[in-house]
């Protein structure tokens, strides 16, 4: 291995293992596992911890992302939800820096709880990749200038779901990866982040799927892989070629997505299943725990514990090494978004707009603060530069400790 490739590998490992104090570039953070390290987020949520709150012009289940000093959000509006918005806000002041609007080229109908701006956008630090239920994949630079536009709903008109699509794209080493999977047509696509051209497109199980890709970071000589989940299981795909490297074929959920922490993969499969790679590079089950099944929120792993929320709103903590359930805590649900984990705390936002912070230990979980935002919250939060960001259909909030 040359010094340069060693350096690059080290960078990739660090970049994808956690979101280290700074950017939060995609759904569930840079590592797509909802863990933010190096952040000191406000744990005493109150009106005083709201640094700013700004209005949004449309609905969105998409979460905010953070790139440098910018907070980027998507929305959809109009009677038929055909109007697509991409916006950038100044992280410090909340001032809107720019907004661009587009018209959906694909189907915009969806379940009333969902909306067209359901997938969270992604960024490679230079560009924003906004994706929508209509399968419009839009790339702008950080100043809002359109770079390329893929109307995947127009190119593949049967790849849609009448209930709506929710899978969020990720960016891995210059490739934007999107899952577009429905009963009528299903595929995953790797798009060149710079040009918008298709690098690869692979057929996927033809079944409705709302999960999002995850990332298995590079380790040693093994390059980073994209993990594509479906009812069939989990496929590890080379982001450059689209080649399937290995498959976990024991079935998986079609709503919560897999998380990767410290090289181990936690798959919502028959409850929760922990998988590691064998020396030959294939998947090997470590444990399976049917009593740690997540409902809509994806599993979160923090400080050697797994955290999942079931459909009744019960938070289950499990031992990340053994899968043994440690305790349960009744939370006020329901939840659509995935909690964020940082600095020994879990940050939840339920569908009714109630935010609360849980301090977990191996013995118990304790709710240490609550704040009612008074609006429906269906997205997953973001963390950046010691601040927490969340959005509703009408507003975007920044929470930070005042110094």
């Amino acid at each position: 291995m040359t010094r340069l490739s060693a350096l690059l590998t080290t960078f990739v490992v660090v970049f994808f293992n956690t979101a280290d104090g700074g950017d939060w570039r995609q759904f569930r953070g840079n590592a797509a596992n909802s863990v933010a390290t190096g952040e000191k987020l406000p744990t005493e949520l109150s009106g005083g911890s709201v640094a700013w709150k700004v209005e949004l012009p449309g609905r969105g289940l998409s979460g905010p992302i953070a790139v440098g000093e910018q907070i980027l959000v998507t929305a959809s509006s109009g009677y038929t939800q055909e109007r697509l918005h991409v916006m950038s806000f100044d992280a410090e002041t909340g001032e809107q820096q720019w907004e661009r609007q587009f018209k959906a080229t694909g189907r915009t109908g969806c379940h009333e709880k969902m909306c067209v701006a359901t997938p969270t956008p992604a960024s490679d630090g230079e560009r924003v990749f906004a994706f929508y239920s209509s399968n419009d994949l839009i790339c702008t630079d950080l100043a809002g200038n359109l770079q390329w536009y893929r109307g995947l709903g127009e190119e593949f008109p049967n790849a849609s779901n009448s209930l709506g699509m929710s899978s969020s794209p990720i960016v891995v080493e210059g490739t934007v990866v999107a899952q577009v999977e429905s009963d009528a047509e299903a595929f995953a696509i790797g798009v060149d982040a710079e040009t918008g051209e298709t690098k690869w497109r692979i057929e996927r199980p033809r079944k409705a799927n709302w999960t999002s890709p995850a990332v298995l970071p590079a380790e040693g000589k093994r390059p980073a892989m994209v993990l594509l989940q479906s009812s069939a299981g989990l496929s590890a795909v080379d982001p450059e070629s689209g080649k399937v490297v290995w498959e976990f074929g024991d079935g998986a959920s079609t709503i919560p997505s897999a998380s990767v922490v410290n090289g181990k993969i936690y798959i919502p499969s028959h409850g929760l299943t922990s998988v590691r790679l064998t020396p030959k590079g294939g998947p090997e089950e470590i444990w399976n725990a049917s009593n740690l099944a997540p409902a809509t929120s994806s599993p979160v792993i923090l400080d050697g514990m797994t955290f999942t929320v079931n459909s009744a709103g019960a938070l289950s903590a499990g031992d990340a090494e053994s899968g043994k359930r440690l305790w349960q805590l009744r939370l006020k649900g329901p939840f659509s978004g995935t909690p964020l984990a940082s600095n020994g705390h879990l940050f939840f936002f339920n569908e009714r707009g109630l935010a609360f912070v849980v301090k977990p230990s191996r013995e118990e979980g304790v709710i240490i603060s609550e704040l009612d935002l008074g609006e429906t919250i269906l997205c997953s939060p973001a963390a950046s530069n010691n601040a927490l960001y969340i959005r509703s259909d009408g507003h975007l909030w920044k929470f930070a400790d005042r110094f």
Partner: protein, 374 residues
């Protein structure tokens, strides 16, 4: 001398360059085709500033949605820069463009919304006159004002306002509210006609769709449409039988009218008489898998079961011929047992791209026309 010629050369180049740039944006295609050239053309248009706004808007007409998104991004970049620089947009030209109903509805709305940022009072000036505008967004705003007016008037004096509002309404939520108010005042409202739902059908079936295999199977009605024929169906001999919907939204409930045959499919046909050759939309709602033929041509098919249904769930562009147009629909039911997977129905209407129902021509057309499907 050379220096003196530069402005002249720039001026000569200006119009053709701008037109070239716009042509580049209009030429973008699927798969990010033309994106690199489009970026350069957009930058060039943005550099040209506010004088390019109207040409950009004018180019919306006849462009693909993909291309209008590039045009829109150029317009917004210019308008944004102008406003941030404290400059005003060319109001009179933009107002003139908004008023020109021959232009693209999306482009007119874009111009209007940018004007509105600085002049909120513009809504009061323009919207009341836009009840029958080609833009569904403008119509919606105009109808919303009339709904408020009717509610404020109350009682019988509101009826004329409600009636006026209904003339412009194209969105289901507004139409529902208006229809309820009118019916409460004992005014007859025909929503099927308003939306353009086709309510009289002939249906043949059930045919076998066990294991969802019937979706791909080609049964006799797909080969040749003969309304006098009888077929071997999955439950014995079947013939075409009339089914009419009296539902406001044209829902033909197969499970109720016939039976919820699990693992089956039905063919439904009707004739739409068009006053002229025209491009319209067939809008369909069904929770079942389906195929749609118009005049024997398969125009779309979709194999999805029980992911919800709603009005205008699918929008299928169609080119209709003058006179009779034969519509054939294949509707498939699977064998799911969940309570939420038992619907076996469809609703279908013909409308223009704004969603305004286009009623069939009054001339009677026989349903016994043969050979509609090839």
């Amino acid at each position: 001398m050379i220096r003196a010629l530069v402005p002249l050369a720039l001026a000569v180049c200006l119009a053709p360059c701008m037109a070239d740039d716009i042509s580049v944006l209009r030429a973008v295609g699927g798969g990010a085709q033309g994106a690199a050239k489009a970026r350069a053309a957009r930058d060039s248009l943005v550099d040209g500033g506010a004088k390019n706004l109207i040409p950009i808007l004018t180019a919306f007409k006849g462009s693909s949605t993909l291309a209008t998104n590039w045009l829109r991004s150029a317009f917004e970049a210019i308008a944004d820069a102008e406003q941030k620089a404290g400059k005003s947009l060319p109001k009179s030209e933009l107002l003139k463009f908004v008023a020109d109903t021959t232009q693209s509805p999306e482009a007119r709305r874009l111009a209007y919304e940018w004007l509105l940022k600085r002049r909120p009072e513009l809504a009061d000036e323009l919207i009341p006159g836009m009840l029958l505008d080609p833009s569904p967004d403008f119509r919606r705003d105009a109808v919303a004002r009339l709904i408020i007016e009717a509610k404020a008037a109350g009682g019988n004096s509101a009826v004329d306002v409600w009636k006026k509002a209904l003339r412009g309404a194209v969105h289901e939520d507004q139409v529902k509210e208006i229809a309820k108010a009118l019916r409460d005042s004992e005014v007859e409202v025909n929503l099927q006609k308003h939306f353009g739902f086709l309510s009289s059908w002939k249906i043949a079936g059930p045919f076998d769709n066990r294991d969802e295999a019937g979706f791909a199977a080609v049964y006799a009605p797909e080969k040749k449409l003969d309304l006098e024929a009888s077929y071997e169906g999955s439950e014995g001999e079947v013939k075409w039988q009339p089914v009419a919907s009296d539902d406001d939204y044209g829902v033909v409930d197969i499970a109720e009218a016939l039976s919820n045959y699990k693992g089956s499919l039905m063919y439904a046909t009707t004739t739409y008489n068009s006053s002229k050759a025209q491009d319209l939309e067939v809008r369909l709602g069904t929770p079942n898998a389906w195929k749609l033929w118009v005049n024997g041509k398969l125009v779309f098919q979709r194999e999805e079961y029980h992911r919800g249904t709603r009005m205008d769930q699918y929008k299928v562009p169609v080119s209709l011929q003058a006179g009779a147009n034969i519509i054939l629909l294949k509707v498939c039911q699977n064998e799911q047992t969940q309570p939420w997977a038992q619907k076996y129905q469809f609703q279908l209407r013909v409308c223009d791209s704004t969603g305004s129902g286009v009623a069939p021509s009054a001339r009677a057309v026989s349903l016994s026309q043969k050979g509609a499907s090839k």
